[in-house]
Assembly symmetry: none
Homo-oligomer: 426 residues x 2
């Protein structure tokens, strides 16, 4: 049976109090703790001040079984979480010789080999505490038991370092402490559909499901549907999830691009690999973002050849052979230009499939097209297609949605589905 | 003269603890409070639980002059901030007849005119408290004085309603209480240097400065130094900041790329525009990320022509004319390839300046180069330069640092500075 474990999340950093950054670490941690069934009752945030950090740790320890601290473990003078923990534990800091050697070795590999001496503060460990390896940065994490048996973990505030330590050490240790319950979830990802539409389609299933439960998360041109089950074993949890995932897929249809939390570019890469085809892009509006995303997954060089970024009118003509008729006629934000760009990129890179993007990101009109106008083109042996729409929102949103539309058009083509046509506003 | 006023920000809502949303209200409030010179020492977040909300209010009141609460003022059963405040004040809730009329009138205007009775809870006011009008929703805000003279404000958690009440009532009242103080800050941005090195160089200045104060913030291949002054007037604050900014710039030297919080791509665009030059890129390693960043700022088409993304060896040869000798000799991750890619892009796009990136992002070696190997090339009328190094970290970090190195090389060239040479590891 599972035991109730109360966890308190403490963020350290004056930048959080000044509002320079939001406390997204607490959000990420809260989500993960909910998944393993831990009870989070409070968050606190405190600045880089010794007495106040100690006070916050003491309040947390008075009402929680486990205290998770993020931030203040770096090398600079204002990084004083280590010192505060030592004070709260009523023990001295001791320099760990192995950590010191590791830090010196890390810097010896750098350009001039000179390590600023204050980096060695990161080798200081409160007596009796254990360190958590950091494979992404120089500040190790800490784990210690406060008087009264409250477990304390401290991690760097850099999100990637915190996430790595949570996954490697903190979450497994907490899950073991909580006991038998296993929580598993799968994330279904959709593109080209809004969160409210997804919620409407899945309303009955949502109402009927408490375990597994459903949750929605909308982000930059995508909607995620997360199915979470609690059970006695992993197998049991997964066999509870599987039929719900199938039902979600059937209800949502072809807006679903992944049943396993792949990114859209990963899904496209998987489909390209499976069909033995290679992709090229032609980008104006997005300036290279689609190429950047297609080259992000490991192994992408097997399916992605390149992208011709042609931001000016002359470069569209010179690099991709967009015609004078198109440039002087409908202009560079047009169906004709999108088709010619895709054809040009397919020829230039000798690709099986090419996708193109041209548009007016805003805030001003571009070549006669109103801000938000987007054209996506697709060229392959058996297809020459373009789709246009006007997107609402600022420059970054127009670009992000265009990336999604372009990758989704490639995805639908590779899956043999219907290619989307023009929309008015998305 | 200004008085020090300590403010604590309390978020109420189980959805914050579960990580369903980030506490962006606290961030927004923190920024605004910093602007008027209030001292925010702590944030707390608590779920929808009466005893725990009361406990959090009591802790906040013990260490702050003003407590700002967001969330839990709505009409549903789990909205219990009103009840908690009444408990903390040790007074009963009283139904406000004017508020009740306002709520009934509000609903009378709706489609079917039927008001769920629990909406009237929003007309309940702790005895002695005053309400703050809500012109965007149905839940009024509250202002009350706790025993001991601590001022408490409660606002809805819906950001637009909270923002409206902060602007209409809370910020003006706090500014009046604080007195004349104005807070201004400027952010200096650096690239190609670590946070610990920046802190070492500025250690004496950091120690000596309390007003203006210095703060460091490291992110993805950059370090920001923020200089913040409190003064009686904006002019006074700015004249206190100016000499510190100059001193920071002198101490840090050519790693500084902006004195006004520009992004690196904005700084490069500014320098290109000022010198009447246009940039092209040749990207392998980064797949288009540099082009994407250069095309992000409004107006970038005046200075950025395009980027040839050549992810495969054949496309480097076909699109950019990288030579057989290079491909068969040192390979595509080499000084020679970086130079030929930059020269090819400059020719293809007829650019004044071209920058190239080639490398092995990892996790596997690429064309004989170990993971993390990066070569950056630069070509212009008067320069043909390349720089190589091996970066540590994962694929995303290697790519991100390469973007920074490439944009920084262009920045240094345009500023007439020394171009960086090879490093071993960064």
């Amino acid at each position: 049976m599972s035991r109730s474990v109360r966890v308190e999340v403490v963020g350290v950093g004056t930048e959080l109090l000044l509002g320079q950054i939001a406390n997204t670490n607490a959000q990420w941690i809260g989500e993960r703790l909910a998944e393993i069934g831990a009870d989070v009752l409070f968050h606190q945030v405190v600045g880089d001040n010794l007495d106040r950090i100690v006070a916050v740790i003491e309040i947390a320890a008075s009402r929680a079984d486990v205290v998770l601290i993020t931030g203040g473990l770096g090398p600079t003078e204002d990084d004083i979480t280590r010192d505060s923990i030592a004070l709260a534990l009523r023990v001295p800091l001791e320099r760990d010789p192995a950590l010191e050697r590791w830090l010196r070795a890390r810097f010896a590999g750098f350009a001039d080999g000179a390590m600023p001496e204050n980096n060695l503060r990161q080798a200081d460990v409160p007596q009796g505490a254990r360190t958590i390896d950091n494979d992404r940065g120089s500040a190790p994490g800490l784990a210690a038991d406060l008087p009264g048996g409250v477990r304390l973990y401290a991690m760097p505030g850099v999100p990637s370092e915190m996430v790595a330590m949570m996954r490697s050490t903190v979450l497994p240790e907490l899950a073991a402490r909580i006991g038998a319950a296993v929580v598993r979830s799968r994330t279904i990802r959709c593109v080209g559909v809004g969160e409210s539409r997804v919620a409407e389609i899945l309303a009955d299933l949502f109402e009927a499901s408490s375990n597994p439960s459903l949750a929605y998360l909308a982000s930059a041109g995508e909607v995620k549907v997360r199915v979470t089950a609690k059970a006695g074993t992993v197998d049991e949890a997964e066999s509870m999830i599987a039929p719900i995932v199938t039902e979600v897929q059937l209800l949502l249809g072809d807006v679903v691009f992944s049943l396993d939390d792949e990114s859209l570019e990963q899904a496209v890469a998987r489909l390209l690999l499976a069909s033995g085809r290679r992709l090229a892009c032609a980008e104006s509006l997005t300036g290279g973002s689609v190429g950047s995303r297609m080259s992000a997954p490991v192994g992408s060089s097997r399916v992605f050849i390149g992208s011709a970024v042609v931001y000016t009118t002359e470069s569209k003509e010179r690099v991709l052979g967009v015609s004078r008729e198109t440039i002087e006629g409908p202009g560079v934000v047009s169906r004709e230009c999108a088709i010619e760009m895709a054809a040009g990129a397919r020829r230039l890179y000798q690709a099986d499939v090419a996708v193109s993007l041209t548009g007016a990101a805003g805030p001003d009109p571009h070549d006669g097209a109103e801000p938000g106008t987007v054209w996506i083109g697709l060229e392959a042996d058996d297809v020459s297609h373009a789709r246009g729409y006007v997107a609402s929102g600022d420059r970054a949103r127009v670009r992000r949605w265009a990336e999604q539309s372009a990758l989704d058009m490639v995805r639908r083509y590779l899956e043999g589905g219907r290619l989307p046509d023009n929309d008015r506003i998305i």
